[in-house]
Symmetry: C2
Subunit: 380 residues, 2 copies
């Protein structure tokens, strides 16, 4: 009888329309009917990514699509830049290391944004760089990176720009083509408000040239095989049929609302959450000049264990927010505002966060955050 | 308003209980609640595989789990045997080739079963063989291979036995431990009567020893990372949460019915379908001494294009059966009896197959196949 609220930066709640679509009888994946839905999804994702490039689909987590990008673009011994400002940026490095790709790392303190000039300097010094890997919105710290500027730097070099926008796409403005992103990667379970299990990749003509030269081994992740199948309105292997039908519905809803309206609404929600958090006497963890709109990272006051806050909210009140990852474990908590999460969910989240923090000895007037949240939202 | 019947050897229809479970609100994957469901699924799969070995889960198609087995067990240049009797057996070879693994191929004409002695001979001559890859039920031709005998041959060598039972598991008897199978691979969308998108792998202690020595690159498919996560009741990356919740329900249903009863019922259905097909004057495509119970491969009479039969059944009557794959395209059609497919679905399938074949000029008395099907099923 418990009611659940999912306020995590992935997976995010699934609208009832999408859940119903997911539960429809399974279609065979080599039928005209499924082929039509699949191609609709691919075309819909071109709108969501704002691209005219090829879009490919992988049955697998966002990490699968990240790895697919590495193995399709590169060869062992290739040199790349990984520009990371957190846990997900570091994942690019870990994948490259697993494949014997040589990484030039651009890193900043967690909570700060990547400085595009740092990438530019390495590219100037090293003409062998084949690819620059980075992260659009780094959910582990709350940062959004300046992909537009990075794109301008990378476009005139031999390197391709590969961006993880698993969490950012849909809710945080992302323009694949206008920003010269060669490969963009996303997952179904964040802004796309669908269940986890599908991921998508865009591939520019410049990236396809690298694919032709790549010798890293691949089979399930082979981009060329995927592209060839799309010509037949198919996937190379049995796809997660029910998830494709689900995301088909979700994309329809996104197109109906339009990306511009979603970006605008998400920004309003984000501003209201940040104001609420501050009015509760709490601090925003990351650099607010580069804070994303999809998640608010909140520093825990001295002596309060963020993991315990998350656990209490989840187990006693059915509210899932996220804790800190890796070196931030216990030090921050994170409230997401992406996908199907809306103001009603956030009022619940903020209200019970107040309550739980007070229990942990923080001097908070219950209701103060909710009041600020509503007032900021209501202001013109 | 059209009614759909899925009689293909994967994906198979999903019971309404499983579809409802799939559509439940998304749980966060790092919660106690999801952890419990996940571990239940892992334990349930040990029953389904009939194993005490580790079971690992991959968010991806069956092919993803096949590739995961190759990259976790082997190193480039390793020598292996691929014993293939059809399209899916050949897939092992294609994956090995992609990773620079040297394949000794054991092949038979499509429609015949693998002769275990052929494997034994290579193993005797070549002590460097690291693994033997083969297929339990080869759905492209309808064959079930004698894994028990192959297991006895491989167990006393240095090699591990890796078996694709993506289509066979649940409906065709398969005893991982008793048959000395070191690595067994399956998918969610066949006997497990769940949507496609999840796959599972068993790993024996002998196989883990190979994993320790393997140097093929991997990240998303890394078995050691998966095993470590299971200790924390987690997956390394966001899993297909809704598919896990769905298969959790399906496994509960399988356990309730028991594997023994499912094997028995499937065999009865298979016999009735084969008899029906023959009574219609049609021929079974494969060697009936080694025919599986999960799919009936039917040779098309001279001059009848199987692809057109499949297309008419699908587009006009909403009934999906499978055509021939690769070199069998057009020459056979295949009716599955696995997972949630039952006698009511098969009566529909057989009846409209009669009708469509008559349209294509085959001399068939409509009703003859259905009559035989019912009579064979009814016979004690």
């Amino acid at each position: 009888m418990k009611k659940y609220f999912l306020l995590t930066p992935g997976p995010t709640p699934v609208p009832p329309e999408v859940a119903s679509a997911e539960a429809q009888p399974i279609l065979h994946h080599r039928t005209t009917e499924f082929g039509k839905i699949f191609i609709d999804v691919i075309d819909g994702m071109k709108y969501v990514f704002q691209t005219k490039n090829d879009v490919l689909m992988v049955t697998g987590s966002g990490t699968a699509a990240m790895e697919a990008s590495v193995v399709n673009l590169l060869s062992a011994g290739d040199e790349v830049i990984v520009a990371s400002c957190g846990n997900f940026g570091d994942r690019w490095e870990n994948i490259c290391n697993a494949y014997g790709v040589k990484v030039h790392k651009v890193a900043v303190e967690w909570g700060q944004a990547i400085n595009p000039v740092d990438i530019e300097e390495i590219l100037k010094k090293n003409k062998n760089i084949k690819a620059v890997f980075t992260t659009h919105t780094e959910t582990s710290t709350g940062i959004v990176n300046d992909i537009e500027t990075i794109g301008k730097i990378v476009k005139d070099t031999e390197a391709v720009l590969v961006v993880d926008t698993v969490s950012g796409l849909v809710n945080q403005k992302f323009l694949t083509d206008d920003w010269y992103v060669d490969v963009a990667v996303t997952g179904s379970q964040k802004g796309l408000m669908s269940p986890p299990g599908l991921s998508f990749v865009t591939v520019s003509p410049k990236a396809w040239q690298l694919v032709e030269k790549s010798t890293l081994p691949k089979f399930y992740f082979d981009f060329k095989r995927m592209r060839k199948s799309i010509d037949n309105k198919e996937t190379p292997f049995t796809p997660a049929v029910s998830l494709v039908v689900a995301i088909h519905k979700a994309i329809e809803m996104i197109k109906e609302k339009t990306l511009e309206k979603i970006w605008y609404d998400t920004e309003k929600l984000a501003k209201a959450v940040r104001a609420a958090v501050k009015s509760m006497g709490l601090k925003i963890f990351c650099d607010e000049n580069h804070i994303s709109n999809i998640v608010t990272p909140i520093s825990m006051p001295e002596g309060v264990d963020g993991q315990k806050v998350v656990k209490t909210l989840r187990e006693e009140f059915g509210i899932s927010i996220a804790g800190g990852q890796s070196k931030l474990k216990g030090k921050i908590v994170r409230i997401a505002h992406m996908g199907y999460i809306d103001k009603t969910d956030l009022v619940v989240g903020i209200s019970f966060l107040e309550l739980v923090l007070r229990r942990f000895g923080v001097n908070i007037e219950v209701g103060s955050g909710v009041k600020t949240f509503q007032e900021v939202l209501e202001a013109k």
